[in-house]
Amino acid sequence: MTATQPAAGRTPVRRLAGLLHRRRRLRLSLLLTAPLLWLAVLYLGSLAVLFVSAFWTTNSFTSEVVKVWSTDNFHALLTTPVFRQVILRSIGVALAVTVLCAVIAFPLAFCTARVARPRWRPLLVVAILTPLWASYLVKVYAWRLILSQGGLADWMLKPFGLSGPGFGLPAAVITLTYLWLPYMILPIHTALEQLPANLLDASADLGARPGRTFRSVVLPMVLPSVAAGSVFTFSLSLGDYITVQIVGGKTQLIGNLVYSNIELNLPMAAALGTVPVVVIVLYLLAMRRTGALSSL
């Protein structure tokens, strides 16, 4: 018998393992090749083509894309009254949703993080997170049921001689607020829970009443988390068009304009699509100054 057991370090597996161990560059490139092909080539490539196509035009008879460089689409974006109106309305909706979320989330998070008994707190966190697992469409559908004619909203407001808002812009704002509320509650809850108790005691020892402690100690320390939550509520609202389609009646937001332009004028749709992206990036940059992004 000439063949003996190969010594350790001689099997193909061991040789390969040794090679990978010695050559970190090789290991790194093996790790990154597949994901980067997917994300950088497929995804970023598609995005790049889309944004380049925002500078193309369409033949108005055939709806064929004409690959001639022009800034007409962006010019139209800034000068057409309808577009300007819809863009401003979309930003307004996103801001309104963010403010509403913060107003509802703050007392709720304060209660779950500092007022509720410690034993209950983990359960309350689960209660905040649970709706995030429920289907997006089902939640919008729930509000369609509530706000429909003769629905729960009408029934609840009837004794006061009022009726629900029906489908329209307010319905869209309410539904979007409902959808993204947990994204606002959670960071505020975490920040309030981590607030050191001795800071609050120190403030009280120095003679501050609860209101003053809240304004001078609690609020400044929690504000970055509100900003972090607002990144979610703002950008998710700005990009949404399904909710508006379902409960918004005839209301149009920027996403709906993109959607309605895809078939007939893809370059215009692409140009319109850059608007939420640019606004979201500007919002992120603004929020970065508050230190929100490091607490994400």
């Binding site: 790790l31 990154l32 497929l42 598609s46 509720a116 068009y241």
Partner: protein, 271 residues
């Protein structure tokens, strides 16, 4: 901060109202699935189980569930592989453009779905169509995987940052080669993070509407697309009600698994 008694009561009431706002719509969906009437007027005129059996036999809804499961599993599998690879590269290596890589991973979920949707749609149109491949389940899986990578990546990279490379080094000092160290040391350390990532990725894919709209071929209907298409048809309202109720009930499953996983993680970090 010693809050006064009245302030505590006020905060409790505010939180109670907050939780009511969160849960009343979900409860309404459950109640409404027993509504014998086709309209959503409140209060319902009675109770019936009739629509539950109708929905059970609804071919469209059943088929849509199946399509969604297939798309979710496919996207999750791809996201697991790609997300884990990037996580290892970013957490265990230093290289030029590392921050850019972490940024690109987040981009598909940070940008509005409609932007990702039309970008992929026109890319598929220009690249796949000449090859004779149309939009279908395959393109849905590709689209979903793109934005699912980030959740796997986030979970695995967080775990790798908590567990330094010294465990692997110790294993190698004891004679294990790269693959053995991975199988015996690294993989058990990241296993629950992988499971959590897979759960989130599947849930994300199962629920997605916008990117699906632009990447699904004709005849490929995931469950959210089915709900969206049937939501406004009065004839289908009772079946949609039941499907919505089932989805609300089904969301308990991932919550339970997530709780079990995080309990798992807690015991692990105690080592």
């Amino acid at each position: 901060m010693q809050l006064s008694r009245s302030a505590r009561i006020a905060l409790r009431i505010a939180a109670g109202i907050g939780f009511a706002i969160i849960y009343v719509p979900l409860a309404l969906v459950l109640v409404n699935s027993f509504n014998p009437d086709r309209s959503a007027s409140w209060p319902p005129p009675g109770w019936t189980f009739h629509w539950w059996s109708t929905a059970w036999e609804n071919a469209g809804a059943r088929n849509a569930v199946w399509v969604s499961v297939k798309a979710g599993l496919g996207a999750t599998a791809i996201a697991l592989v790609l997300g884990t690879l990037i996580a290892f590269a970013v957490a265990r290596h230093r290289f030029f453009g590392r921050n850019a890589v972490s940024f690109v991973v987040v981009l598909p979920i940070a940008l509005p779905g409609i932007v990702t949707g039309i970008a992929l749609n026109s890319a598929f149109g220009t690249v796949l169509k000449p090859l004779g491949v149309g939009l279908g389940l395959f393109t849905v899986i590709v689209g979903h995987a793109t934005f699912c990578i980030v959740v796997v990546f986030n979970n695995v990279v967080a775990r790798l940052r908590r567990t330094s490379g010294s465990y692997e080094e110790a294993a190698m000092d004891l004679g294990a080669h790269t693959f053995r160290a991975f199988v015996d040391v690294t993989f058990p350390l990241v296993r629950s993070a992988l499971l959590a990532g897979a759960l989130l990725a599947f849930a994300l894919s199962f629920d997605e509407v916008v990117v699906t709209t632009f990447t699904a071929g004709p005849g490929v209907e995931t469950l959210p697309i089915w709900i969206f298409n049937n939501m406004t048809r009065p004839q289908q309202a009772p079946v949609v009600n039941v499907v919505a109720a089932v989805l609300v009930l089904a969301s308990v499953v991932p919550i339970y698994i997530a709780q079990r996983l995080s309990a798992d993680t807690a015991t692990e970090s105690r080592i």
